[in-house]
Every structure is written in C-alpha cells, then in structure tokens.
Amino acid sequence: MSTTDTHSQRAPVPPGWPGDDPTLPDDLDVLGMRWWWWVGRRTRARRPDALEGPGSRAGAGRSGGGRAEDGGTGDWTADDVVDVADDEPDLDGDDLGAPRWRWADRLRWRGAPPGDREPPDDDEVAAVDDDDLVAGVQPAGRVLVVLVATLVLALLVNVDHLVARVEAGPPSDARDRALSVLRPVQDVGNALQLTRVRDALDALRGDGDDDRAREAGGARGTDDAADSTSRGGGGDEREPGGEEAAGDEDGLRTPTADDPLRVWVGGDFMAQAIGRSLAAAGESTGVVETEVRYEAASGLTRPDYFDWPAAVDEALDDHDPEVVVLVVGVNDAQGIVRPDGTPAQVDEPGWAEEYGRRVGELMDRLRGDGRIVVWIGPPPMREPGYSARMARVAAIHAEQAAPRPWVHVVDLAQVVGGPDGGYTEAVADPSSAEPVTVRQPDGIHLTDAGGDLVAAHVMDLLRTQVDLSGGARGDG
C-alpha cells in the first residue's frame, strides 16, 4: 500500500506555480514502510545498498549535504549517529550510497528493510542530538496509518461511553445514525474485551471520586441542579426500612387536593416520557403531586456515571414520596464492576449476580412506611440482540421484586409490546382500540403516546392501592 502511484500520475504542475517545487521528486513515497516494520522491532539498521523500490531511486531530489561530500566508505559507525545531526537532511535515494545514514532517516524515509546490523542500544538512541528524531519526522502516509489505527483502537476501548453519550442526546436522525454505526463497534469492542480497559480505568477513578459523579449528575438537567455544589458522601449507609416500616398492609392515606399524594418519578431517558405523562395524569386527578427526575444514559451498572442509590436517598429526604416510580434498565446491559473491583461482562455469570444485588439493594432502599414502589423495567427493543439483553435485565428485576411485596413491577412488554411480548411500533389503544405509535423511529425510546399508555397503566395500578377520587380508601 503506497501512494506512490497517485503522485506519479498527477498532472504536472505548470512551471512557475508555487507547487512546482523542483526539489521534490514526483513519486514521493509518503507511506514509507514495509509491513514487517509495523510489528517488528523498531530499529533495523539498513545498509544503503539494501534499499529497494522506485522511491529510493527516484527523482533528482534535493541535493543532500553532509557525508556525501565526505566520500565515505559505506561503513556505518556510531559516530555518524551523532555527527550527522548538523547535516542537511538527505531526502533522495541517490545520496544514500554514502555512509551518512542516520536513525532519523528511517522515520522519514523508506522504513527499515532488514539489514544485518544491530541497532545501537537505547541509551545511544536517546543521546542522539537529532532534531528530526525528537520531532518524530515521519512520512505523511505513516502518520495517517498511525492516526487511523490510534483512533480505531481508542474507539473500541471507549465505545461504551460513546454509546452512552450519544444515547443521552435528544432523539434525532443523526443520533440514530450514530448509534447504528456505534452499536456494531460496541459489539466488536466487547467481543475483543477492549472495553474492559476503560471499565478498569473508570473503576479506579470511581473509587475515590464518588462526590464528583454525584455532583456531575446533579448538574445535568435535573430539577434540583441548584444544589450541585453540595458535597458529601451520599448516605450509602442508609438502612433499609425496618420490618415495622414495611407495612404494605397499612395501605396509604386518602390524598386530598390540600394534601396530595406525593409521587416521585426517577430514571433514565425513558423516565422523561413516562414522567411527563404521569404528571399530567396525576394532575388530572387533582390529588396527585408529581416530581420527575431523569438522567439520560443512566442506570444501575454505572454508578460512576450516575449514582441512582444516592439520588434516590436525596429524593426520599427532600420529597418523602408516598409513591416512587423508578424507570431503569435500558442502559444496564453493559459491563459491571463488582465490589471487589473485578469487572464482569453481560454474558458472564457474575454479571447477573451483581446486577441483581444492586437492584435488590435499591428496592430495599426504597422501602418505606407504606410507600408503594412501581418499578418499570426496559421494554422490548427493535434490534433483536439488544432486545434479548433487555429481556434478561427485565427478568432480573422481576426476580428481585418477587420477595419484596412493596415493589410492583410493570412489564412494559405487556404494555407497549406486541401480542407475543416482542417489539412492535404501534399497539391498539385500550380505550379506543385505535392503533397508536408507541415507539420512536430509533426502535428504543417511547413516543409521547407510548408514555401516556404506560402512565395510564401505572395510574390503574395506583388506583388499586390508593383512593384517588378524594373519597374512600382503595382496597389495598
């Protein structure tokens, strides 16, 4: 792979034009490498007569200075490495017959075909007083390959974060396109385990930096961003509610317009659509007051990105909600770091265990005096692989909720899924039987109508627990 041909086929520059530089040969070898150079040891001294290929002999070239005039013998000595530093750079192949090759030549010229000389040791290389070596002068083609390879590698390592960041954006065609490109990259990154590098880094950083994650979260588009400067560890030691506090059987009071039912909705981007619809539905009853806090791209696998347990503690302290609606899971099918610092990928057995532990812990944390917890997991997704992972996440939610009577899980597959519980764009509106589009074109997010459907379902659920008519208490 050489761009030599491109250059040799170019139209001649008219004489006198600025680009008509007679000192540069036409067929520059701007890639300047051999394949083995990429994987082999960095230095292989070459002998001038070992050069090959058109580039090395090409063109009149810039007349080299230096040792060409010295009439050298062809033997390379360690002295040359230092002495030639003052020479003019020799760019053309013709001059290479003289023994004034230096280490930097390899970097800017043709790479290093195997020679029979041993390279100088590291100290010698470091001691070379050579501006070109310090500046890392290389052919543009090689720089391009290094740049592309670097970006691809960095992309694979950081792809989980990029996906999360893109997902956090508002729905748009550009976002969908970016995700359609990034998701396969994410699969490759995960398959090659490269994302673990970033996970490990994040784990390292996250350990000593909980405050920051929390603060960063507080500052992002939430209703209580104003307190983003507040500091402190964030009540991780909060005790789960005591036995006597569980009191599902005690039921909830009957809310009135003067003393409305306090509902708090939290969660990822889905919580925005659902929260908005729920707030509207609650308002229409006249006895429900709803607070919504959503954090795009958040979930329970990445507390370093957003710490939901801490945010929940804060909400419980601030609002003392009687009903908590939590919407999580769509961003959770990604690597998780266990308490001992070891990461686990989604397909590894330890993942479900750790994720289940976190879900259960948050459910316990939400338990309160008669408080109702409505837990909304992820819906089925259009992309089958993603959908399967979401089903797995939803199953863990259901599993953890089973022994916890204060948690009511809403299975979105039943609300916005198809007849078989799979993905569908539109469902029949239960009230009118008319089809309504419940999913956005990205195959992930809910439409407003979808949010309304879920909210109606939640309100129905709440009505079985609380009297929302301002009249007698519900049946509990």
Binding site: P18, W37, L91, A126, L133, A140, A154, A216, T229, R231
Partner: protein
C-alpha cells in the same frame, strides 16, 4: 464542532488525506482547504460561513483599493481612509456578532438605572465560535497592506488565511506574512513532525479537557459561587486555580490547533511561553497568549502612538490596549476590568523601571533572592487580576479579595491534596525546560508504529476517562 470529539477526528482525518494528496496541485489544494474550513464553520452555523466569506470579500477589496491608492508605496490620505473604513466595518461585524449581547445588556442596564425600564430586548444572535480570530486576522491584513508591510494577496489566499480551520476556534492569531507564504510552499510529505504534533495535541487535550474542567468543577466554580462560605486560604487557592484554569483552557486549545496544523504541514507561532514563570507583569505579557498580545501591540498599541508620542500618552495607550485585550477574552465588564488591572500593573511597572534607571542601582536584597521575590510578587499580582476575571461582579471580586486579605475563617472543603497537586504541577511545569522531554520524544519516535498506536490510544483513553462527561466548556469561553 469541538476539537476533542469523534466527529472532529473523522473530519480531521479526511482533511489530512486531502491535504497531502492535493498539495502538489496548488489551486486544487487551496480550493479544497477552503471548502474544508468553510464546512468546519458551517458545522457550527451556516451563517458563520457566510460571514467569513463576507469579511474576506470586504477586506480583500479594501486592501486592493488601499494598495492602489498608494502608488509610491507610502500610505496616502486616501489609503488611510480606506483602511480605517475597512477596520471600522470589521469592528462592526465583531460588535454585531460576538459582542452584541454584551452591548445590548450594558445599554439596557444603563437605561434601566436611569429609570427607563423598557422591555428587555431579546438577543438571538448566534455567536459564531472564533469570530474574533478571523476578524483579528482581517484587520491585521488590511492594516498591513495599508502600511505597505505586505503585498495584497489573492482572494483565495486571504479567504484561507481567515478561515483555515485549525486556528478558527481559539487561535493562535497569525500574521498574514506568517501564514500565506506557507500556503505557497509545498511541505515535504515525507517530513511530518509527528511526535511534535502528537505531544502538542496530547498536552493540549490534557490541559483543555482534563485540567481546566476538573479545576472548574472541583474548586473554582464552587468557591466563586459562594465566596462567603469559603475560607480565606481556600479562596487564595481558588485564585491560583483560576489562573491555572484559564491558562489550561486557552493554551490547551491553541496547543491542539498548533499540533493539528503541524500535521498538515503548516507551522504556527508558539502562543504560550511558560507565563507563570514570569518575573514581572510585562514579562508575563511576553509569555501569555503571545499571538494575541502581539496583535494588540501591532494593531492597537502602535496605532495609538505606542511609547513614541511622549511619556504622558503612553499610560493611556497601555490602558486602552489592555482593556481591548481584556474584552477579547470575553464580552463582559469583568474582562474589561481585568484589562484595567493589568493596565495599572504595567503602567506602574514602567514608571518604576524608568525611575530605577535614573538612580544608582542599590542592592537591597542578595541577588539570589531577587528573582524568587519577583516571581512571587508577579505570580500573586497575576492571580489577583484573575480573581477579577472570574468574579461575577465587582462586589464578588471585592468580597473574595477581602476574605483572602483577612484570611477569613471557614471552609467548604474545596482544597484537597489533589487540587493542590494539580495547581502546583501546572505551575511547576513552567520551570521545566522543554529539552528535558527530548529523550522521551526521541524514544517515542523510534518506536515501531504499532507501539506508537498503543501508546497514543492509551493516552487518549486516559484523557477520555479523566475528562468530564458531556460537552466541554471550550474555546474562547472557558466558563
């Protein structure tokens, strides 16, 4: 489009390939680089690209007319008028786009104080990123032609000089005779100083993406949001923090720009030269954002008369230059006031230096102590000025300074060992000669490309992991 994004990386790779493949064809190369740069502008806002075209056309016509009006080479009254009109038009564009919000707010505020409580005007002008950079370039070009310091250049050259994308976001500001000749030379595609460029981009990313946002979040923003809660010592450290933050944001952005341009075979002048190692405020301005400072010197200070029109006019000229310089950093009274403070420093320093010249040198202190003392005083004066730069109002700045001066008790737990280490390391890095890194650079250069890729990707990952989530406070407005 911001530098540290995937979108920019893809854009840059395309520009890199086009640049080196088309370099042998000067016309095609210029047309392509203009298209690429205008695309970069339009990424922010299509109108931005149109404004660039308009500014280029206006100044190209004006410069040509001014050049025709001075057949003997020396400026004539006619050429002066043309240059003044062009500069006025450029300043109007700048005021209309970048500073309109500031001007309208100031005027409305003044009217409101006079009891003229009209309805608040809604300012909905997109502030084009980097507008000040290319307007500064345009002014420099037309003035230089008017002074007969440069010949008028081709329209394509001027347009490319104005909008060449590496310098569009945050500079550096280059003179037309520094950049346009490089458009005409064909750099050797086999000689790309890659390690230099990688070091510049890498250090720029560390400064602009890691250090600046981190310091803002951990120390500066909370301290200045509620100065009453912070202790005096804490606010002192916060003042150091502002200085380091502003330095990191601006020098980081220009380092990235210089590094990117280097990969394209274009050399920019150095913008920051270890400003926190300065031993006097004038020395500081010889090291701080040099390209902007030089522009201010050449196109504000010198036309005002500089130091040549008598001793009593020099302070005025210094003060005007400093205030204009302050407003370049941001459209707000705090930035203007920051310029005033520096103006006072420089004037006092010049007066003291002139007095010292007339006297016998008396050694009050052993010479071994003089330099550290000068450094200490200069550094604190600079930091004090940055308090004004960062504070939301004069009252806030006064409160911060009062609490520092009285070493007010209290503390919000903002100063951690890590914060001190980051500030200390950034300042200390100014005293490390660049040569120290040559060994490491040579070692990196000598690595096989696969190993270079691994090192670079690891560096990018660490920067990404340490950087903030979400978009960066970047470019000309680090806050």
């Amino acid at each position: 489009m911001q530098f540290p994004t995937v979108a920019f990386a893809i854009f840059f790779l395309a520009a890199f390939v086009a640049n080196w493949l088309l370099r042998p064809h000067p016309l095609v190369w210029r047309a392509t680089m203009i298209a690429v740069s205008l695309y970069f502008c339009a990424w922010v806002d299509v109108r931005f690209a149109l404004v660039v075209l308009g500014v280029a056309a206006l100044n190209w016509v004006a410069a040509a007319a001014a050049h025709r009006a001075m057949p003997a080479g020396d400026p004539t009254p006619a050429s002066r008028r043309i240059v003044r009109a062009a500069v006025a038009a450029d300043v109007a564009v700048l005021a209309g786009l970048a500073y309109r919000g500031f001007l309208v707010e100031s005027v409305t505020g003044a009217l409101a104080r006079l009891g003229w409580a009209g309805s608040e005007p809604v300012v909905e002008v997109v502030v084009p990123v980097g507008i000040s950079i290319y307007v500064l370039h345009a002014i420099g070009y037309v003035v230089d032609v008017g002074r007969d310091e440069v010949e008028p250049v081709a329209f394509a050259d001027l347009l490319l000089y104005l909008c060449f994308f590496p310098h569009l976001v945050a500079g550096p500001v280059v003179r037309v005779d520094e950049l346009v000749p490089q458009f005409h030379e064909r750099p050797d595609p086999r000689r790309v100083p890659a390690t230099d460029a990688f070091v510049l981009v890498g250090s720029g990313l560390v400064k602009a993406v890691v250090i600046a946002p981190w310091l803002a979040e951990q120390l500066v923003d909370p301290a200045f949001a509620a100065p009453a809660e912070a202790g005096g010592l804490e606010l002192l450290v916060a003042a150091y923090g502002v200085a380091v933050l502003v330095y990191a944001a601006f020098s980081g952005a220009t380092d990235i720009a210089i590094g990117c341009a280097l990969l394209l075979g274009i050399e920019y002048p150095r913008a920051f030269d270890a400003p926190f190692a300065a031993l006097s405020v004038r020395d500081f301005w010889d090291r701080w954002n040099l390209t902007v400072s030089h522009w201010l010197r050449d196109y504000v200070y010198v036309p005002l008369g500089g130091s040549r029109r008598g001793r009593h006019l020099r302070p005025r000229n210094v003060m005007v230059t400093m205030v204009v310089g302050g407003l370049w950093y941001g459209a707000g009274w705090n930035f203007a006031l920051w310029g005033v403070v520096h103006g006072v420093y420089v004037i006092v320093e010049q007066a003291a230096a002139a007095r010292a010249e007339r006297r016998e040198p008396t050694a009050l202190l052993p010479t071994a102590l003089t330099a550290p003392l000068h450094w200490f005083v200069t550094f604190h004066l600079v930091c004090l000025a940055f308090v004004v730069y960062r504070a939301g109002s004069v009252g806030d700045a006064a409160e911060v300074l009062a609490r520092v001066a009285t070493l007010a008790p209290g503390g919000a737990g903002l100063v951690t060992p890590l914060v001190l280490a980051v500030i200390g390391a950034t300042v200390a890095s100014h005293f490390v000669p660049t040569e120290v890194t040559y060994g490491a650079r040579a070692r990196f250069s000598a690595l096989a490309p696969a190993a270079q890729v691994a090192v670079l990707a690891a560096g990018l990952t660490v920067i990404a992991a340490l950087g903030p989530e979400g978009p960066l406070p970047f470019g000309r407005l680090p806050f």
